[in-house]
Subunit: 206 residues, 2 copies
């Protein structure tokens, strides 16, 4: 099986926001699709180790800000490359809240989907949530950012290691999986989250 | 709720093939995403009234040919705009078969995912299938066809009705839903399958 064949599937890019108690958190995801009409339902898949995933399980609600083609890397980096366990990702931002009190983006966003979980399935690495859409509204008229365009146009190109230290491993920036070894194969696929080799960063010797 | 906000979600375009007994059938779908890694799993959503959906329920296997940007409208029309109940869509074609004996496309295709259903959820209008990927292979190096590019570049523009007859209703070409009335609102969303007004065709008086 060539796991890189899965990279031909097309996706958008979304800010996925949730709230549990008084704390809100959000991450970047590419896995969301409409799965039913009348009533409208979507499915999203979320890495189990993510705080946002835990908060959706606890709070039962989330929203998706559908990012548009003007979205800068800073937003992806801020919400997608850090854990809400270490930082308050919404600190210093004043964002609108949906009817459940969950923040959503008011810029670089095509539309917002306000969702309530009706069912969830733990699939090991990820949890699949099926949710009913309680509210949906457009925010702008730019084209949606596709996951392919994010990789080709938004994400910075990999740079040569700035350090003279020896590389001893590679760490997946999406889920934290560590590959032991100095050379990460170009066709490597993360066994925890399914992301490709260019989502890994080097780990240097101490 | 503005249901057209859902049209900002990004998708690919796929030939979804299934087999039940000796009969194979296929349809065009845009709803497939990877939902887990280790083992790799995908989710697809299928309109319940489709023969392909019935055959996946009966046979428990399917494959997805991920269409590429060179795919002509003829393939979409042949597999997407007719029912396998009325015609043998594979008649006259000699296509390769996957390990389950299900045909897949050998042209205009980025990659093929060979899938086995592990769970299904009936969501009313659609059934959501969660499937394990038993095999995956690349077929070409063209970019995948996105659903947005299908609408913008592949699908023929709506033509003025060729008939002088009076339009009495509009029928969804995707699922068969009929809207009674001569004027279909431009922002209409099919209540059965969620597709937009430009997927409807006129129904004329007898």
């Amino acid at each position: 099986m060539d796991k890189t064949a899965l990279f031909s599937l097309s996706y958008g890019v979304f800010l996925l926001s949730a709230k549990s108690g008084e704390k809100a958190n959000a991450c970047i995801t590419n896995t969301a699709m409409q799965v039913a009409a009348g009533p409208e339902r979507i499915a999203i898949s979320c890495i189990n180790s993510n705080l946002t995933c835990e908060m959706i399980k606890a709070g039962g609600v989330f929203n998706l800000s559908i990012l548009d083609e003007t979205c800068p890397y800073e937003i992806i980096e801020k919400f997608g490359m850090h854990s809400g366990r270490d930082t308050d990702k919404f600190a210093g931002m004043t964002l609108p809240l949906d009817k459940n009190g969950v923040p959503y983006l008011d810029n670089h966003t095509c539309a917002v989907l306000v969702c309530r979980v009706v069912e969830s399935r733990d699939l090991g690495s990820h949890t699949l949530f099926i949710a009913e859409i309680d509210d949906a509204f457009k925010m702008g008229d730019k084209a949606p950012l596709t996951y392919a365009d994010y990789h080709a146009k938004v994400k910075p190109k990999a740079q040569k290691p700035a350090s003279d230290k020896k590389i001893i491993a590679w760490k997946c920036k999406i889920c934290g999986y560590v590959y032991d070894g100095a050379e990460l194969p170009a066709d490597f696929v993360c066994p925890w989250c399914g992301h490709p080799a260019d989502d890994f960063e080097p780990v240097y010797e101490e």
